[in-house]
Symmetry: C2
Subunit: 508 residues, 2 copies
């Protein structure tokens, strides 16, 4: 990859625009520092240093909030909004998103923001505790308050007619619960029989044979994989953390993974997943780093990038045609008993599992549909928190095909709701759908794309994604961007086709 | 070490004091974040991410400066200063240092601060370039401006009668050029014949035999050494960087070192040196973290701590009685040809070298005396920048005993002057003197201290330093603290005695 120096250029057409962009740059720089503090906390922080880090983050967060809610932003936005028709589309994008951010920073009263921050912290610790003790009742009061705060937040923002839509829009601009519901219903209908036929198959992956992969060698292998896919280490890093994540920005993109000697494919595919997020970040326009044109659309598009590289690309035969010899060279003894077909099947293993994050790409979607249906009812007032565990177990049986053995492995498994992050889960499944839809479009436009992979070449795909998705920043909302690139809004048929194409030949 | 949680407690005796301490806490937290950004830049930053980091640091520095120069600090300081007699000694320490910081932040006009920041950056790059090309002339105009700015800065702060004293006080509160000159003259007089007799000795250390020390094993060994000395990894880290340094604070102390397979003692003693700095930081009162009572006195005292652990402790026979078996177990083949005496002599090797940072603890002092004499004349107007290289080479021959083969290895070797950091160099030698003086006091109060070391015990020495030095923060200025602990102000006789005690038996 090229060694792109990080330059910061701004558009200067409107007299208020430069001032607005300068303010955004300052605020965004404080934001990237907050991001680094978070990364450092996960990767480096000594165990007894967390109190001091919490104080540092509180001080920086306050400074960030003061910058975001500075009333001079309103003074700059008004003339720009009055001159709306004179602005070009990019300038409109910047102004529209600035308005959204400013309203979010100023319309919620300080009392609400403070109460929410305290609740987030209390609810997180209550969740950790409740999960440890497998005792939902200890978490329930906090979850109830998070549901109330979510509804109240939407009301304060003037979105009381549909609070769940307000939540969803926070993560996927322009998306609504109705749209998602329709997509998920179609997906569920098609996916249930497909999953059933795979799970009932006599063919079983031998993943349990993959044991004793030394961590240093795993690290070297996946470092090379990420670089081959196009990750630019000149402006990025790969480190170890408890949970894999991608943080940073286009100028400094930091990936993490975790290692287990006996579960090497988890680390490998988690790493490729995070690399996908990282490739998106590194593809965003560096010269617009601090404004909407240099920032990701939302979680659904972000997840489409990680999923496309993780699944469509790296679970393909052609990917393994290139990487299998290297994998065997790195782990000759560990892979002795496995044929190429065994290895390929292990990479595409499908099993029912109560835990979302341990699920394969087929059954993972059920986990998301479950959560979507539940949180829609919770926010809509159709389901009480007290009834949630029973409803989780009932729906889990119906959608996923199993009831979790305990709340710990069921309703208490995810952190998201403890932070009131309703509307976040759907992004994971939207990402899967968008990834498949982009994938078939890429194959249509580059018919011999797969033959690249068997030669270890991924630059044509990356260039395609850069041109179609990455370079646009927030220029288009989720649905508009998907439509622009593929000719239609999100359509679950591509994900279904992809899963059938990949899994039916393997498991029949 | 104990797992001390980082608590933040403040004194509340005076109505203005709590408000002042709250402001200081906020400012100091921004300062520790700036420290982390600097650490991350040295340890983690991807090569092409430096521009963005520079922008982040500029934004945070501006925020930090705005907090430090906030006029409400003046409003809080005035009633505290009016009630001076009512304040206890600790409160007076906090107020006195707040006043000093506030005046420094406000008395220098913005024009001066901006000009200096730009000059620092330009002069740094000019120095890198000039050193690379061995061309002093390319650096000279920048150094001239730094000298001018230094004189002007002292003038703006009302210290035009002795600008070099103003500079020195920035690094060692209360210290003056006259005091230092007297100390250095005595030291030089005694040290020259001692160094001569060591260098003329037939005894020569076999350091060139120390080759091929695997880096991972070096790392494991020195990690253990630092822990044995008392470094608390619960609130600290050890990483790799281009130059060894210690950064952070009592709650999160971060050390770095560098490795060379063929120069293992450099890495080991650099690491112990930084561990000494880290032990001081970790010994500062955590509950006063954000004010003067929780912060280091100055560079001379800081350096005394690093030097004491590096030299008095870790170059002792007793230290090696404990660690030699462990060192041999880690590097059995590499140490095969060396007897215990050979190893001990290698640890205490003395050779003439033009480069300060590569020099041993005997000749190192000459390098500092050289720089002190030159910068005193530069700031005093008795030496022009154009005449500096010739004067460097002449004095170098006179004091160190050799002229550098080139300006690159002479006047251009150190980064300090490019940043206008005149008055910093003396701290290194003051640190050496204070270390030896503390050392003999510790031996007087704990007569069997050395026998601890041969058993791998360092807790009595650490507790002694914690009680005498660390716990006081900035409560006493450099000379006051030394006097309080040892009964007299800094006296070079202890360093001379120490060097004679250590080196004469080895080299006679």
């Amino acid at each position: 990859m090229s060694q792109v120096a990080c330059k910061l250029l701004f558009m200067l057409e409107h007299p208020s625009l430069k001032a607005l962009l300068d303010k955004q740059a300052k605020q965004h720089n404080v934001g990237t520092v907050l991001g680094l503090l978070g990364w450092d906390e996960q990767v480096n922080l000594p165990p007894a240093s967390s109190d001091q880090r919490a104080h540092e983050m509180a001080v920086l967060s306050e400074i960030h909030h003061n910058l975001a809610s500075d009333s001079s932003i309103e003074t700059l936005l008004q003339p720009l909004e009055e001159d709306w028709a004179k602005l070009n589309a990019d300038e409109q994008c910047v102004v529209k998103n600035s308005r959204k951010d400013y309203d979010r920073a100023t319309r919620l009263p300080t009392d609400y923001v403070t109460e929410k921050a305290i609740l987030d912290s209390q609810a997180y610790h209550a969740w950790v505790d409740a999960r440890g003790k497998n005792h939902f009742g200890a978490f329930a009061p906090f979850l109830k308050r998070q549901v109330e705060m979510s509804v109240k937040g939407a009301e304060l923002m003037g979105k009381s007619d549909n609070p769940y839509d307000y939540q969803i829009d926070l993560f996927d601009p322009g998306m609504t619960a109705d749209t998602i519901e329709e997509l998920f219903n179609t997906l569920k209908e098609e996916l249930l029989p497909l999953a059933r036929s795979i799970l009932d198959s006599q063919v079983k992956a031998k993943t349990e044979q993959l044991k004793g992969f030394p961590i240093e060698k795993q690290k070297a292998f996946l470092t090379e994989v990420a670089e081959t896919l196009g990750f630019d280490y000149q402006r990025g890093r790969f480190d170890v953390a408890v949970h894999p994540f991608c943080s940073g920005n286009a100028c400094d993109t930091r990936l993490t993974t975790r290692f287990d000697e006996d579960v090497p494919l988890d680390s490998l595919f988690s790493s490729i997943h995070e690399t996908g997020h990282g490739l998106y970040e590194q593809g965003l326009p560096i010269d617009q780093l601090h404004n909407a044109l240099g920032q990701a659309v939302g979680m659904g598009i972000h997840e489409s990038q990680s999923r496309l590289w993780e699944n469509q690309v790296s679970r393909s035969r052609e990917f393994w045609q290139h990487f299998e010899p290297k994998y065997r060279a790195a782990f000759p003894e560990q892979l002795t008993g496995l044929s190429s077909d065994d290895l390929y099947l292990a990479v595409n293993s499908v099993t029912l599992c109560p835990i979302r994050v341990d699920s394969d790409e087929v059954t993972y979607n059920f986990h998301i549909i479950l959560r979507f249906e539940l949180e829609k009812k919770l926010i809509g007032g159709e389901l009480s928190v007290d009834d949630l565990p029973a409803e989780w177990n009932r729906l889990s049986k119906e959608i996923i095909g199993l009831s979790p053995p305990s709340d710990k492995e069921g309703v208490l498994q995810d952190v998201h709701w403890s932070g009131g992050m309703f509307g976040y889960f759907p992004s994971y499944c939207l990402g899967n759908m968008i990834a498949a839809q982009l994938w078939y479009k890429a194959l249509e436009e580059i018919p011999d794309l797969l033959s690249d992979f068997s030669q270890g070449k991924f630059d044509r795909l990356l260039a395609w994604l850069r041109g179609r998705i990455h370079q646009h920043g927030k220029r288009y909302d989720t649905q508009d961007l998907v439509t622009r690139v593929t000719g239609e809004p999100i359509n679950p048929k591509y994900l279904i086709k992809y899963l059938k194409d990949r899994y039916l030949p393997l498991y029949s």
